[in-house]
Symmetry: C2
Subunit: 199 residues, 2 copies
């Protein structure tokens, strides 16, 4: 799926692709996944629907690739993240987005968490293109921390790092009526994630 | 708002109220908040729309009271929760629901986390009837733990307990493709919440 999409997408410029992803995320924040259609994306981005289908195959993959493009975690970081400490790696994973991009990602994730239950193709795209790569990236970060002796190899919190991070981002607005900005996430990583990992 | 609703609701029996809340939660899981209408609730529960509006005032309050009735945390527990230890209190907060009720609550919360951004009345009902009472209950639980010397009064993770718990419940299905059952939550409280609190 990923390779096919890459070759299809190569027909448009990176600038155009980035612009289009931005529009998709805007629309998603405005209307939610269910109400978002290829028609509205085509209208907003002045593309033809045929082009969108040819490049992305469908709504699910277009939406998930748009989110991934916005780098919610460090999955597309050049050569991965390796600052030399667990604290540095965790802060860097989320530190690549500015607060505006960050709010956008979190709104999208909230929307998708509901939509995923009614859309098997969205669930598959989300797992293949976002969840699995993020889990793999986190496992590398954690394994290096184990190798350096920063955390114990049997610490059960290692299985829950993504739940902690994505959960905090997703609930911030609901609980505190504030956006999940970088300052919040930095404080949450210090107060919750690192102590839970025993680091 | 809460008192007015209680006096309105007293016109129906507790059994009928419980049955109706169950139907609202079922519907919410099936169609989401935006698509749920007082018409569909009326049809599903064989009530008149006039009765629903008279008893609950509107969709937002009906939906939030339905969720609250399902006891996502211990806010409606008789006399509050006080097991004598932080570990016991935290496990009991969530231990009052069976796995089926629990899955239902978490599906609802996922749906509401999106809908809340477009519905100020839903946001207000959610804060007044659910978030604030849960935060107040958690503060009591944490204050008792501080008084017993189980956690430090300045532990920054105390501000994030609801983020940790609600976040884990909300992300479980997305990350692990498994429902957020009691076994998961028990393990998460042991691995993440208690260590983060330094308990």
């Amino acid at each position: 799926m990923a390779e096919a999409a890459t070759s299809r997408r190569s027909r448009i410029t990176p600038e155009r692709e980035s612009e289009l992803y931005g529009a998709v995320l805007d629309l998603l924040g405005e209307v939610g996944y269910e109400a978002l259609t290829m028609d509205t994306v085509a209208a907003r981005t002045r593309s033809s629907k045929a082009t969108l289908y040819r490049q992305w195959g469908g709504k699910a993959e277009l939406v998930v690739r748009a989110l991934r493009h916005n780098k919610p975690l460090g999955v597309d970081g050049v050569g991965g993240i390796d600052t030399g400490s667990l604290r540095g790696d965790l802060h860097t994973l989320h530190g690549q987005q500015d607060d505006c991009e960050f709010e956008r990602s979190s709104a999208l994730m909230r929307g998708l968490a509901t939509a995923v239950h009614h859309n098997p193709d969205l669930r598959q795209a989300l797992r293949e293109l976002l969840i699995e790569p993020e889990l793999a990236e986190l496992r590398k970060v954690l394994q290096r921390a184990v190798d350096r002796g920063e955390i114990r190899p049997d610490n059960p919190a290692m299985d829950y790092v993504l739940h902690m991070l994505v959960g905090a981002i997703g609930t911030r607005a609901l609980i505190d009526e504030l956006p999940p900005d970088q300052e919040f996430l930095h404080s949450y990583i210090e107060a919750v994630v690192l102590p839970a990992l025993g680091a």
